[in-house]
């Protein structure tokens, strides 16, 4: 620990979660002091300042946070195996600072960390960690350098929960189970993927509506959804239930999405990759945009936050635990190979490589639907920038998306290039909204931090983790956000002008962010025999110890405080 400060002098600080008017770029320039990896209050005059970096009016923001990005674990690895040609084509050699790696839309763990840091992202969250895959996921994320990471445990199709719900378990028993899973798998939230649907698929069901009974357990997706959302709310887990709705990708699924919002009935929830759930059935092709209806439903429901899952044209791979939709889409695989597999009876996994084509009506309309959602949802605190990496496209396309949101003429230029039928079917061309820098700072930093309950990230108030990004204020927002002038992680410079920079300490490793609500350990009396009878590992071995993540000082744990009754609810 040193008592010296680093001073970032004369930047225009864009900090919407900071002090009043913190997002006002016209405000006087503000100096930022970094000390011991945190933002510090302005020090006394005689304090030792080690380094002064002149920012000359550049734009300063907190490190960006990706709330939903598939960057590790079982299915990402299967995706890498399925497309070795991607890794043959996109290799990167070691250079003394970086280790070697490969891949573009399923980058290897090292490349993932480097690319994120070079873009000014300092945290990313793996949204689909099956509890039975948790150890693998954490081991892999442990090899992602620089950035902080966290995982959402996938529940809602696991036989233990479904069987207990069918047997009439009380809410408090479910709460204990959910809390036990969060502890045992070192997760920061819970995701539910196609509630009940993945399990129903194994009983030969190919579609499941919100109020349709599961063919074996007889319970409905609505019940699973509300029980889990209530559990997280009762436990005080800051990140509300992360919901991947039913019937992903099916034209007309907007009704189930709106029903889901209605079913939650005021319970906080986060609807993920909403673009894939906003399809109508109008028009000659029976495929239309329902973005306006969905956006309206979101605008009316302050308990709901969303991320978009924007698509980007080009080759990628779709990777999802939603085996029902992946199996349905397997015929669209390009190149023509795909994998659908069960994972330890805990969930499912489907991988379908896909090429989004700008001349194809359906893909082009998907692109427009995503942008409509961004632009029609009014509150940037509740809509976050994602491509559902890699499902809509790689996370490296975020700077391009930011330009689409901030620059209407650029957006309309792109709209004119894609399948012409889309401009006629979509209201995108008539939307005048352009995101401001402050709104971008909210949707990529302050908003995700708030909905994840990260109290010391996503803003630049004294005490925050010193994850700071400095941008040149370029008119081309894509260039601006692709290559930030400076990126600081924990107060150390890690990238300069979009390239990793040596700082004498190697690249470093981020923290794993977890949440630890209280629960009654008596739930283990029920779980123990379940593990003995049905699982491949015993309960004692299933639990991930802190030491496995800390890995003798290489990793770190950062515990998100649970909400108490006095905390303002989301």
């Amino acid at each position: 620990m040193s008592d010296a400060y680093t001073l970032l002098r004369g930047g225009r600080v864009c900090d919407p979660a900071g002090p009043a008017a913190g997002g006002d770029l016209q405000a006087p320039r503000r100096d930022l002091y970094l000390k011991d990896g945190r933002i510090a209050a302005p020090p006394p005059d005689d304090a030792r300042i080690d380094a002064v970096i002149e920012l000359d009016g550049r734009v300063v923001m907190a490190g960006a946070i990706d709330i939903h990005s598939h960057i590790g674990g079982g299915k990402v690895n299967l995706a890498r195996l399925l497309l070795p040609e991607e890794h043959r084509q996109h290799g990167s050699a070691p250079d003394g600072l970086r280790r070697s790696g490969s891949g573009l839309f399923t980058p290897s763990s090292f490349v993932t960390g480097y690319r994120y840091a070079e873009m000014g992202y300092t945290a990313a969250f793996e949204p689909a960690m099956l509890p039975s895959n948790a150890r693998h996921t954490h081991l892999e994320l442990g090899d992602v350098p620089i950035i902080d990471k966290g995982c959402y445990a996938v529940l809602g199709n696991d036989d233990f929960l479904l069987e207990r719900l069918a047997a009439g378990a009380t809410q408090s028993e479910v709460n204990d189970y959910v809390a036990w899973i969060l502890h045992a798998t070192q997760a920061v939230g819970v995701k539910v993927v196609n509630p009940g649907g993945i399990s129903a698929f194994k009983f030969n069901q190919r579609r499941l509506e919100l109020d349709e009974a599961h063919p074996h357990y007889g319970i409905t997706p609505r019940r699973i959804l509300t029980t889990l959302a209530t559990a997280l709310s009762d436990l005080g887990v800051p990140h509300p239930l992360h919901v991947h709705c039913n019937n992903l990708g099916i034209p007309g699924n907007e009704s189930v999405t709106r029903d889901t919002i209605a079913a939650l009935d005021g319970l906080p929830a986060h609807l993920t990759h909403l673009q894939f759930h906003s399809y109508g059935t109008e028009g000659d092709r029976r495929f239309s945009s329902a973005a306006a209806e969905i956006a309206e439903a979101v605008n009316r429901s302050p308990n709901i936050s969303v991320d978009v899952g924007q698509i980007v044209f080009g080759q990628t791979i779709t990777a999802s635990a939603d085996i029902m939709s992946q199996f349905r889409n397997s015929g669209l695989a390009s190149p023509r190979k795909w994998v659908c597999t069960d994972i330890e009876c805990d969930g499912g996994c489907g991988l379908v490589p896909f090429r989004y084509r700008d001349k194809a009506f359906v893909n082009a309309l998907q692109w427009a639907i995503g942008l409509e959602l961004f632009l029609l949802i009014e509150d940037p605190w509740r809509v976050y920038l994602t491509t559902d990496h890699p499902n809509g496209g790689p996370f490296t396309s975020y700077p391009h998306l930011i330009r689409l949101l901030m620059d209407r003429s650029f957006r309309n230029e792109q709209l004119a290039r894609i399948n012409p039928a889309v401009a006629a079917h979509s209201r995108l061309g008539s939307i005048e909204r352009e995101y401001t820098l402050e709104e971008i700072a909210i949707m990529t930093r302050a908003g995700p931090a708030r909905v994840l309950g990260l109290r010391d990230r996503g803003h630049l108030r004294p005490g925050a983790v010193a994850d700071v990004v400095v941008y040149d204020d370029l008119p081309d927002r894509e260039a601006m956000f692709a290559a930030p002038a400076w990126v600081f992680k924990n107060g150390r410079p890690v990238a300069r002008n979009g390239r990793l920079t040596p700082n004498g300490e190697g690249t470093g490793w981020g923290d794993t962010i977890v949440v630890r609500p209280e629960f009654d350990p008596a739930i283990e009396r029920r779980l123990k025999p379940w593990f003995e009878d049905h699982q491949t590992v015993r309960l004692g071995n299933f639990r991930i110890a802190d030491g496995e993540i800390l890995d003798r000082g290489r990793g770190g744990l950062s515990i998100v405080p649970t909400l108490t009754a006095s905390d303002p609810c989301f």
């Binding site: 070795p84 040609e85 070697s100």
Partner: protein
């Protein structure tokens, strides 16, 4: 015709990626530039001039002194000729689309994998995966010709779609695994599970075989096409003699019936 010769200065320090040494790529460079050309070696690179003595003039032919640790020789070749005195390492002629790669010695793994055109001749033996598919690819060889005087390893012609592979000696297990089309000629004895998963294409060999149960015995035949094939082979250079002399008599099996079953195994006396 201008010929560039590369002669080894001494034993190689390790496995070297020789894929930049393509005639058309070198033709535009002078000897000094070629000597400075970086070749991948482990985590770093080594200059070509540190490994080879260069002579002659760059043109459409490269003569190379071979070594079993020289990988990717002729990988991506699309024209010109590479002649190798001695063996080469793995992945020779991978993804080749034209020209000639003539190896006097043996080749390592996956020679001619994903080949699309051109001719690969091997004086010695070939390793596993000859003319096969790169990992994860749906198609293996899609064109061109591979002629091997010696024997070859396992999985020759895996996922082959087009082209000709002729092996003078024996073949390893799983020859023409999941073959889609094309011709595989084996002058010696085929290995275990030959033709497993083949949907179409032809595997021809000498002597008797007990094929997999997925193959239906179609008895002894007199096939006029075989004498046409023999005449075609007589017009080619470097066809192993053991693959020649087809009389037209053949015992024929059709299979693999678990996969469509339109491929054929031909045992020619």
């Amino acid at each position: 015709m201008s010929v560039l010769s590369l002669r080894l200065k001494g034993p190689l320090p390790g496995r070297i990626d020789a894929s930049p040494l393509l005639p058309q790529r070198l033709a535009g460079l002078n000897l000094r530039e070629i000597a400075a050309l970086p070749l991948r070696f482990g985590r770093g690179h080594v200059a070509a001039g540190e490994l080879f003595d260069l002579s002659g003039s760059p043109g459409d032919t490269v003569e190379l002194e071979g070594d079993g640790r020289l990988d990717f020789v002729g990988a991506g070749l699309d024209g010109g000729t590479i002649r190798v005195a001695g063996p080469v390492g793995h992945r020779a002629a991978t993804g080749m689309s034209g020209g000639f790669l003539m190896v006097e010695g043996s080749t390592g793994l996956a020679a001619g994998a994903a080949m699309r055109g051109g001719v690969l001749t091997v004086g010695g033996d070939a390793g596993d995966g000859l003319g096969g598919a790169l990992p994860g690819e749906r198609a293996g060889m899609t064109g061109g010709r591979i002629l091997v005087q010696g024997s070859c390893g396992d999985r020759v012609g895996e996922r082959m779609r087009r082209g000709l592979i002729a092996v003078g000696g024996d073949a390893g297990a799983y020859a023409a695994l999941h073959m889609n089309a094309g011709s595989l000629l084996i002058g010696g004895r085929p290995g275990a599970t030959t033709g497993h998963g083949m949907r179409n294409g032809t595997i021809l060999f000498r002597g008797e075989i007990d094929p997999l149960p997925g193959f239906a015995d179609c008895g002894l035949n007199q096939l006029p096409f075989l004498s046409l094939l023999d005449r075609h082979l007589s017009g080619l250079d470097g066809v192993p003699p053991a693959c020649r002399g087809l009389t037209g008599r053949a015992r024929r099996w059709l299979g693999d019936r678990g996969f469509g079953g339109r491929g054929e195994l031909l045992a020619c006396p």
